[in-house]
């Protein structure tokens, strides 16, 4: 029976149990599912070329043995098999290949194989997210099928493009704009067309990157709602009534029209690195608490918030999870040869931050794969909601990456490449991810001008202009930031020449180029101020 049929038969308890029942699991039960499915994966993994290579020809008999025998991996370990799509080397035959950018376009697109079981699991996970997005209490939700879903996400071959295809036939949803039309549109066109249709037909559900939702909402409020072309003739009577009501309210209160004045959303789903800082703002605009979810090309959708929308919970059957404590991860950053310890979900400590390591289940390709994402374990359970599983908050990418609004990931390599291409005389540099007053992330690049540069025109504006051009060149997603989100993602500061080497002399260690610790930045700036008397410009 499909979800539509169950909804029609009002089998709400059964639906809740089927999709959200995992929230009643205890940690041991959760781990039991993890271990058992991992054993299934090991059986498949041991019988394929990729598995034999990653596991160095060994055949672990238990999950513990697997964790001891198999090293932590990165995409490079899989590239020669996954990029040319060598299906015969995989644990299970894929039915779909999903792609994403790799090192901001510096390397070819990353490919990840999806098996039929993975797609089924992803469908189930996303429906769970939709149910939870429309719920405010355990067991109660307002998803009924036939909703208008403003789907502001990328189409296939990206991960977010799977959803409209897999839930088709299971749940009737009107995607705005319709999937086929959306696939032929650019990101901006899709959002515009979706909003236009939403104005005509109404919007029940909305899924988008937090940064995009916040930007669209800002524009909407700033334009008094007039950013949209409201055509009374094309709108449904209900929508016209709402528009008139919103307009009257706006006039009466002398306040701009907010999205919540026009649309009464059943649920709003958001994702992306800056979700934590933007969720409150989005709630103010839309009048509904957004449900944050977490996923990625390699693992699929792996975590969701629940009805109280205040902490992520991992799905038990999507991937096998391991966690590297932040201290271990930092040791590994300092010394690449150091092998960090990993811990399982039942071994975590509340309040600590961890880097996530995933192993694919259900015939996926990745084993002990470092996602490069940091999570904070908020609590080991949520007593208020009666959830016995650990609650997490997404923190950021790992410190070696600067993720901007979920759009692009800037690494040391990206910046070095841009600097090299720009031919600017930059002697030393380091970059830090910072947030503006509107909670929008940007790169703060601190540079020491080289000897040649000191002779010529090298103001920070010149450096910024040059670098912006080359960032757009090396990173295909970089230009979207300004175009779509109105963000100027680069701020340049010049520090006196020799500051960074003085830091080394003073502290006896090198300064990390990407996201050095907050205290290291303070120390560098102190040196910059005291050393030259010029400080930072």
């Amino acid at each position: 029976m499909t979800l539509d049929q169950k909804l029609r038969k009002k089998q709400y308890d059964q639906i809740w149990q089927e999709y959200c029942g995992f929230l009643d699991l205890s940690v041991p039960e959760f781990m039991e599912i993890q271990n058992r499915l991992m054993l299934e994966q090991l059986e498949m993994y041991a019988n394929c070329e990729l598995g034999r290579r990653i596991m160095k020809g060994k055949k672990p008999a238990s999950v513990d043995e697997y964790r001891q025998m198999v090293p932590l991996t990165e995409y490079d370990d899989y590239a020669d098999i996954l990029l040319p799509k060598v299906e015969s080397a995989l644990p299970s035959k894929p039915v779909l290949w999903i792609e994403t950018t790799w090192e901001s376009g510096k390397k070819p697109v990353k490919m990840a194989p999806y098996t039929d079981s993975m797609l089924k699991c992803h469908k189930s996970s996303f429906i769970t997210c939709m149910i939870l997005a429309t719920s405010s209490k355990k067991g109660q939700f307002s998803l009924r099928g036939g909703e208008n879903f403003l789907y502001g996400m990328a189409p296939l071959p990206y991960l977010t493009g799977i959803v409209p295809h897999v839930i088709d036939g299971e749940l009737s949803i009107n995607f705005l704009p319709p999937t086929k039309e959306a696939e032929a549109m650019s990101f901006g066109q899709r959002n515009k067309a979706g909003f236009k249709m939403g104005t005509q037909k109404g919007i029940d559900l909305f899924f988008g990157l937090s940064s995009v939702i916040a930007r669209i909402s800002d524009n909407f409020a700033a334009g008094g709602g007039s950013g949209q072309s409201f055509s009374v003739l094309n709108n449904s009577p209900k929508m016209n009534y709402r528009l008139i009501k919103a307009w009257l309210k706006s006039k009466k209160n002398k306040a701009p029209i907010m999205p919540k004045d026009i649309w009464k959303l059943k649920g709003l789903i958001c994702a992306g690195t800056d979700s934590a800082s933007l969720k409150k703002k989005i709630e103010n605009y839309w009048g509904v608490k957004p449900l944050e979810i977490f996923g990625g090309t390699e693992p699929t959708c792996i975590a969701t918030e629940t009805w109280s929308k205040d902490g992520l919970v991992f799905f038990p059957d999507v991937c096998f999870y391991e966690f590297i404590p932040k201290s271990e991860m930092e040791k590994n950053i300092e010394d690449a040869s150091y092998v960090p310890n990993t811990y399982l979900l039942d071994e975590l400590v509340a309040g600590n931050q961890y880097e996530l390591v995933i192993s694919s289940l259900k015939g996926g390709a990745f084993a002990r794969y470092r996602m490069g994402d940091m999570f904070e374990c908020l609590s080991l359970s949520n007593e208020e909601d009666g959830i016995g599983l650990p609650q997490f908050a997404y923190v950021d990418r790992d410190p070696r990456i600067i993720d901007l609004a979920g759009f692009t990931r800037i690494s040391e390599g990206t910046i070095s490449e841009a600097l090299k291409l720009s031919k600017l005389s930059i002697a030393e540099w380091f970059a830090v991810k910072e947030f503006d007053e509107c909670n929008r992330a940007f790169i703060h690049l601190y540079v020491e001008v080289g000897a040649d540069g000191m002779k010529g025109a090298m103001t920070k504006d010149i450096i910024k202009e040059h670098l912006s051009i080359y960032f757009r060149y090396v990173d295909t997603d970089y230009s979207d930031l300004k175009y779509l989100l109105g963000i100027d993602p680069l701020v340049v500061s010049i520090i006196p020449a020799g500051t960074i080497s003085q830091y080394f002399d003073t502290f006896g260690r090198s300064l990390r180029r990407i996201n050095p610790s907050h205290f290291d930045v303070i120390e560098v700036l102190k040196i910059a101020r005291n050393g030259s008397g010029k400080g930072v410009s």
Binding site: Q17, E32, E40, S117, P316, D317
Partner: protein, 853 residues
Amino acid sequence: MPLLQLFFWVMPVIALASYCLLMLFFSISKKDKFIRMFMLVLTSLILWTASSLFMKMQLYPGVLFWNRVMVAVMLTVPFFLYYFISVFTNSINTGKIIFWGVLTAVAIVFDVLGYVVTDAYVVTSTVTANGREFPSVEFVYSLGIAAIPIYILMFIMIMDILVKARVNIRNGNTTYGRIGLIIAGVWIMFIGVIFNIVPAIGKYPVDILGCFINAILITLAIYKYRMLELRFMVTRGIVYSLFALLLTCIYVYVVFFVEKHTANLYRDITPYFTTFSALLVAVVFQPLYRFTCRLVDKMFYKAEYSQRQALKHFSVSISNKLDLHDMVKELIEAVQLAIRAREILVLIKHEEKAHYYVFSTSSQIYKPDCQISFDNPIVRWLISNNTSLSREELYFQPFFKSMWEKEKRIISDLGIEVIIPIMSRNDLIGMMMLTRKNNSTAYTLDDLDLLTYLGASSAVAFDNARLFTRAQDEALTDSLTKLYNHRYFRKALSEQVKKVGSAELSLLLLDLDMFKLFNDLYGHLEGDNALEMVASIMARLVGEKGIVCRYGGEEFAILLPYFDSKRAFDMAENIRLEIQRTFFNTTDVTQRFLTASIGVCTYPHAASNAEELLKRVDLAMYTAKNNGKNQTVIYTPASPGNSLDEDADSNAVKPAYAATIYALTAAIDTKDHYTFGHSQRVAEYATILAGALGLDKSHLEIVKEAALLHDVGKIGIPESILTKTGRLTSEEYAIVKKHVEMSITIIKHLPSLNYVIPAVIGHHERWDGRGYPRGIKGENIPLLARCLMITDAFDAMTSNRPYRAGLSVIAALNEIQNCMGTQFDPEIANLFVNLVRDGAIVLDCIPKIKSVS
């Protein structure tokens, strides 16, 4: 009365009576929303038929009135049917229901206002049939302007019902079996109504005929396809009593009717005639009553009736069975009778393989090869909940998220809907899996309760049967090798001889060579392991082609029906070579060594009956033994050795390889003269020591040969190391230590000398387990090796070497005493010390190499 007139009157009466009876059943049934909705439809049908009848009877207030009532009620039927189908298929469209409701109401208003039928009356005349006169009634009416549009409206509404039903069948909300008859009934009713438009036909109650057929179809839908689950609220006894009362009334009426009509005609015999007719009616009515009761049972307690029958049958039959196959068959039959599932599978626990396997199915030909492992979440769930598990639960219970894809596939491929545990004493001894029901309806709670009950009630009996089967198997199975035992072999031999008739039956008799020695050398535990290994080799190679039995001790018999001598010989050679390969041809020097001799005899060519076959295969096997072992011999009447005296075959070691031993020791001599002399002295000392230990002649020969060959591996050690005068480096010492393995490698190429290997391989072991190459300790070191350990060390200590002078005998004996319990077996070392002190062993004697023969 003419047929037409009969039809005119009887049809509405029968239709009305049928509807009323149905309504009566519904009213005394437990009601749910479906039954309530259907009662609305039924009410309309009753009113339609009743008003038609009243119209024909020209009851007050008149024909036109009843005609309009009939039309009004007729209009409500499609609407209520539409409503019923919506509720029944759970596809209520409120807007559409209101739409049709309003249109129906408008049509009724038009009817009441006289726009549908403008006039209606009855023309009565007299007709003559079979010479008698009957009043003839003919119905005449004229249609108004609204008649055609209203008929069109009804047509559209009925079409909508059909479309709705079709859509719901396609969407899987219901099945054709459940509402197909209702749809057919709607069509027939509609055709009847269409005929009403044509006054020439409409003057007859064709619409009522349609209604009557519809009533039959509804009854059939309830009876056969369980469209609605009817259950009386009153007890079965009351229903039976009502029928008994009704039949009694009819009975009394019949008797009095007969008496009344015969009294005038046959006054004298009336009492007899009445009594006779009463008896006759009673005889007829008794089965009629029973039939009615059964009909009520089947119609209204159908599920319960079948279940009662199933339970009754099962509880009687299972108590008479002790065979698990029979019991499972009974259970499947009982479930089939009660539930009527398309397929029923019974899975039974397999302790050794840690899974549940398909033991039996309801199908004669379908037995899927699938297993449910012990750690499958389904098994754990059934054990902890001990109740039925439906397929839906597998999807919505998070507990089952840990199921593997292949485990899920088993359930979906088999189309399993329900799984029932068979638990006995907290042990899940099996499970029952059911696919969809024949009528495609869902399993009700009552079904599941019954299945759980059947599972639970059969569990103890199954468990007992399982234990009985196991006991039976054990009585015919050898507990060590799990092969059939001697008892079974004798039975199977005579059965197979009878079965093959004039075709071939080959018998293989396999005996492990020098197995007693193997046991003595390695211990009985190793001996048992070897037997198990040999058994598994035979079972694997023979498979389903023959019967493998443990004949006794280290002898095995293999029956190969329809195998001629050639094929039997090939099979025997395969087995022999596989045993040799497994035990012998290995690079692991610590591996045991074992070979087999096999005799082959084929019936009817070489034996005329079972006894002869057995006797002759025995002779062939002994021939193989006497010819040097590790070979296969086919019995022929002229086989050499067939007349061999069995006593000739002894456990004594043959001297055939004495020359080889001399050749090898001579080879050592050329390389290292010390080792040559050393080996001879050790052989002398060890033979005396073994003799003092009370070992028999064969063991004395073995220890002597082992001592002569124990350092043969030194041939492979560089001379520079063997003759080095200084202290050996650790690397050099490691090379020297390898001489043990090299000795084994050399001896392995002489299969018939393999009996010396246990002693040779163990001569550098230590009592405390710190020796090499195996690091075994205590009595795990073969006895003869323990003898060699002491004598080898003693000679090494007392011999003069280029780099040191030999110790004195006293010093050497003191050293041996010091090492008792650490390096040497304290008991044997003590004996050796005493032998030297007593002069039984004399140092510097020139040993004579005795013939080993």
